[in-house]
C-alpha cells in the first residue's frame, strides 16, 4: 500500500535513509577492520596510512592455532623444503612451530574457544528453558504477588553486574566454583534469566489460552498441552530469546576475566591476554577475534526468520 505523501515527507524519508546508511557504515567499520586485519601480512597491520588493498594470507590463523618460538638462526633449507605450506609461513616469519615428537603443539585458543561454546550454549539452554517455564506460569496462572515477583526478577538487572563481581569472586572461591565451567554457567543463567522470563512472558501472553483449553478438553494433561501446543507456538519467542541470551553469554567479559584464568577461561578474556608484552601481534589477535565473531553470526543467521517475527511479535494485534 502506498499512502499519499507530501514532498517534504519524501525529503525527510530520503534523509532518514541516508542517515541509516551512514550509521550502518559506522557500525560495520570495526568489523571490516578486524576481518581485514585477520588476513593481512604482519607488517601491514600497523602501517600508516592503513593498507586497504593487499594480498590476503591465512598465516595469522596458523599463528593463532600453534605454539611458536623465535628462531635464533635461519632454518635449515632441507627442513624448510620438507615442511608443509603452513609451517613454511611460520619459518618465513623467523619463528618455528613447537612440537612434541612429530605432533604440533596447539595454542590455548581452541580450548578457550571451546570453553566459550560450552558455557554459552549450556547457559543459554538453561536460561531459555527456565525462562519459558517461569513465563508460562506467570502468564497462565494467578500467582500471589505476581507483579511484585516480576518486578523483583527484573530488579536483578538494575545494577551493572560488575558491581557484585568482587563479592561473587570471594564467594565462588569459598565454594570452589572459581575457574569452573559450572560457575560461569550459573552466573550467566542468573544474569540472563530475568531477561528471558520477561521476554518469554510477552510471547506467552500472545498465545491464546484457548489453544491449551482446547487440548485440555480433548483429553490432554496441562503438561502435554504445554509441550504439544504451547512450545511449538512459542518457537519464535524462544528463538529470539535464545539469540539474545547467547550473545550476552558469548560476549561476557568482566566476570569471565575475574572468575576464570585457566581451565574454564573463555575466549573474551583470553584474546586480549595474548597481546602480551613487547610488540603485539595484531594480525593473530584479529584472527582470533574474527573466528570469535562467527558463532554468533551463524546462530543469528540461522534464526533470522524467527528473529524478524520475534521482534515485531505482539506489536500488531491481529
Amino acid at each position: 500500500m502506498a499512502a499519499v505523501r507530501t514532498s517534504s515527507e519524501v525529503a525527510f524519508n530520503r534523509a532518514a535513509i541516508a542517515a541509516v546508511l551512514v550509521a550502518t557504515l559506522i557500525f560495520l567499520a570495526p568489523i571490516y577492520w578486524i576481518a581485514s586485519t585477520a588476513f593481512k601480512p604482519k607488517e601491514l597491520a600497523v602501517s600508516v596510512p592503513p593498507t586497504v588493498l593487499f594480498e590476503p594470507e591465512v598465516t595469522p590463523f596458523v599463528r593463532l592455532f600453534t605454539k611458536r618460538v623465535q628462531m635464533q638462526k635461519p632454518v635449515d633449507p632441507q627442513v624448510y623444503e620438507a615442511a608443509p605450506w603452513w609451517e613454511k609461513r611460520i619459518y618465513d616469519g623467523g619463528e618455528r612451530v613447537l612440537k612434541v615428537g612429530k605432533d604440533v603443539q596447539l595454542s590455548q585458543y581452541p580450548d578457550r574457544f571451546m570453553n566459550s561454546l560450552i558455557v554459552a550454549v549450556i547457559s543459554t539452554v538453561l536460561a531459555v528453558g527456565m525462562g519459558t517455564f517461569t513465563a508460562y506460569g506467570f502468564s497462565r496462572f494467578k500467582i500471589a504477588g505476581e507483579a511484585d515477583l516480576l518486578f523483583f526478577i527484573l530488579s536483578t538487572r538494575m545494577l551493572p553486574p560488575v558491581v557484585v563481581a568482587i563479592p561473587m569472586f570471594l564467594m565462588y572461591r569459598m565454594v570452589g566454583l572459581n575457574d569452573s565451567h559450572i560457575g560461569l554457567i550459573i552466573l550467566y543463567v542468573a544474569f540472563n534469566l530475568s531477561f528471558s522470563v520477561w521476554l518469554m512472558k510477552g510471547f506467552m501472553d500472545e498465545i491464546p489460552k484457548e489453544y491449551e483449553e482446547a487440548a485440555l478438553v480433548d483429553g490432554y494433561t496441562r503438561m502435554q498441552a504445554f509441550f504439544k501446543i504451547v512450545l511449538p507456538e512459542a518457537a519464535t519467542g524462544i528463538a529470539a530469546t535464545a539469540v539474545f541470551c547467547f550473545i550476552t553469554a558469548w560476549n561476557e567479559y568482566a566476570f569471565a576475566l575475574i572468575m576464570t584464568n585457566r581451565r574454564a577461561q573463555t575466549a573474551p578474556p583470553f584474546i586480549p591476554s595474548q597481546i602480551g608484552s613487547g610488540l603485539p601481534d595484531w594480525t593473530t589477535i584479529a584472527a582470533g577475534t574474527f573466528l570469535f565473531l562467527l558463532p554468533v553470526a551463524i546462530f543469528t543467521f540461522l534464526l533470522r526468520n524467527h528473529l524478524l517475527r520475534g521482534v515485531t511479535f505482539g506489536a500488531i494485534r491481529k
Partner: protein, 367 residues
C-alpha cells in the same frame, strides 16, 4: 445417551457472584442454547461444564454422575471455541486427529475416523492445508470436526460462529443444524445472538446477571416471555414496552399507554385477569407485528401520526406517535408513505403481554 444436569451451581470471581443457584436438566440429544448479553454468566456456565472453570457450589452431573471434581480431559466432552483455536503449526488433518492422539487409537483407525468426519463436514480436500490458509467458515468446520471426531458424550460450543461475517454466519448456522439433526448429540451452545438461538435450539436458556431468566422452546420464549428482560431480549425488532393503565368501559377494557390521550380497546375479560394491576404498576408489551396499522378509520382504531419509517426490505418498521412516546409497528413495505402521514392503529389483544412493572415478571395474561 447423555444427559447433563446442573444442580444449584454458584460461581464467584473474587467477591462478584457470576452464577446464582443455576439449575438445568438437559436431555439426551437435546440442543440447548444459553442466550444472554456478554457478562451474563453463560460462557462461565459452559466452561464449568467443560471443566475449564471450577464451581464454588453445586453439582454437575453427566449421565447421573457428578463430574465437577473431574479434570476436563476426563469428562469426555468436546468444545468448540469462538476463536476456533486451531493449532497453526499443524495441518488440518493433524488438528482433527489431535484429540484421537491422546487415546491409544492406532494410526490406521485415526486416519479412518478423521476422513469420516472430514467427509461429513466436507473438508476432505483441506486436510493437507494449514489453518492459516483456510477461510473463516472452513476454520470453523475444522474446529467442529475436531470436536466431533472423538464421538464425545456432549458438544459444547462457545459462540462458534460469532467471529464470522453475517452471510457466513447464516451458512454455518444451517450447517450446525444439519449436523445436529444428522449426528445427534447433546449440545450446549452459547451465543448472544437471539436469531442464532431461535433457529438452532430445542430449548433456549436465557440468562441475565448470573440468573436464568427463562427456559423454554424458541416458541415459548418468543410467545410467552417470562419477564420484561426476556421480552425485550428475544425478538427483532424489539418489543414495544410502555407503562399502561386499564379502565373499565361498557363491554370493553380500555388500555391507555403512557400519556396517550385515548386508550386501546381490549376485551372486557382482561380486567378480571390483571389482579389489581389495572391502575398502577402495569407494563404493556407488544411486538411490532402486534401493532395493526390501516389507512382508513375503523372501530377500535386510534388515529395517530407516523414519525420515522425504517424500510427493511420485506417490511417496514414505522414509529407512530402515541402521546409523547413512540409505538413501533411492522407494516408491509411502503404501506406508510412517509413521515407525517396520518394512519389508524390498534393493538392486537392476542399478542399483548402484561408485566408487573416493579418485578418485571409476566402476569401470564393471555387473551
Amino acid at each position: 445417551m447423555t444427559q447433563i444436569e446442573l444442580r444449584g451451581i454458584e460461581k464467584f470471581f473474587g467477591a462478584v457472584q457470576v452464577i446464582h443457584n443455576l439449575n438445568l436438566a438437559i436431555a439426551d440429544n437435546e440442543f440447548i442454547v444459553l442466550l444472554g448479553q456478554s457478562g451474563c454468566g453463560k460462557t462461565t456456565t459452559l466452561r464449568a461444564v467443560a471443566g475449564l472453570e471450577t464451581i464454588d457450589k453445586g453439582d454437575i452431573l453427566i449421565d447421573g454422575k457428578p463430574v465437577q471434581h473431574l479434570k476436563a480431559a476426563d469428562r469426555d466432552i468436546a468444545m468448540v471455541f469462538q476463536s476456533f483455536s486451531l493449532y497453526p503449526h499443524m495441518t488440518v488433518f493433524e488438528n482433527v486427529a489431535f484429540p484421537l492422539r491422546a487415546t491409544r487409537m492406532s494410526s490406521g483407525e485415526v486416519d479412518k475416523s478423521v476422513r469420516e468426519v472430514a467427509r461429513v463436514l466436507r473438508i476432505t480436500d483441506l486436510l493437507d492445508k494449514r489453518p492459516s490458509a483456510l477461510s473463516g467458515g472452513d476454520m470453523q468446520r475444522v474446529a467442529i470436526g475436531r470436536a466431533l471426531v472423538r464421538r464425545p458424550k456432549a458438544m459444547l460450543m462457545d459462540e462458534p460462529i460469532g467471529a464470522l461475517d453475517a452471510k457466513l454466519r447464516e451458512e454455518m448456522r444451517a450447517e450446525i443444524k444439519r449436523l445436529h439433526v444428522k449426528q445427534g448429540s447433546t449440545t450446549i451452545y452459547v451465543t448472544h445472538d437471539q436469531i442464532e438461538a431461535m433457529s438452532l435450539a430445542d430449548r433456549i436458556v436465557i440468562m441475565h446477571e448470573g440468573f436464568i431468566q427463562q427456559v423454554g422452546t424458541p416458541d415459548e420464549v418468543y410467545s410467552h416471555p417470562a419477564n420484561l428482560f426476556v421480552a425485550q431480549f428475544v425478538g427483532s425488532p424489539v418489543m414495544n414496552i410502555a407503562e399502561a393503565r386499564v379502565a373499565n368501559r361498557p363491554g370493553a377494557a380500555s388500555v391507555t399507554v403512557g400519556d396517550a390521550p385515548a386508550g386501546f380497546e381490549f376485551p372486557h375479560r382482561l380486567l378480571s385477569k390483571l389482579n389489581g394491576h389495572a391502575n398502577g404498576g402495569l407494563t404493556l408489551g407488544i411486538r411490532p407485528e402486534g401493532v395493526l396499522v390501516r389507512h382508513d378509520a375503523a372501530p377500535g382504531y386510534m388515529p395517530v401520526e407516523a414519525s420515522i419509517i425504517e424500510p427493511l426490505g420485506s417490511f417496514d418498521i414505522v414509529d407512530l406517535k402515541v402521546g409523547s412516546s413512540m409505538l413501533r409497528a411492522r407494516t408491509k413495505a411502503g404501506y406508510v408513505s412517509g413521515p407525517g402521514e396520518k394512519v389508524h392503529v390498534r393493538i392486537d389483544p392476542e399478542q399483548a403481554h402484561f408485566f408487573d412493572t416493579a418485578s418485571g415478571k409476566s402476569l401470564g395474561v393471555r387473551l
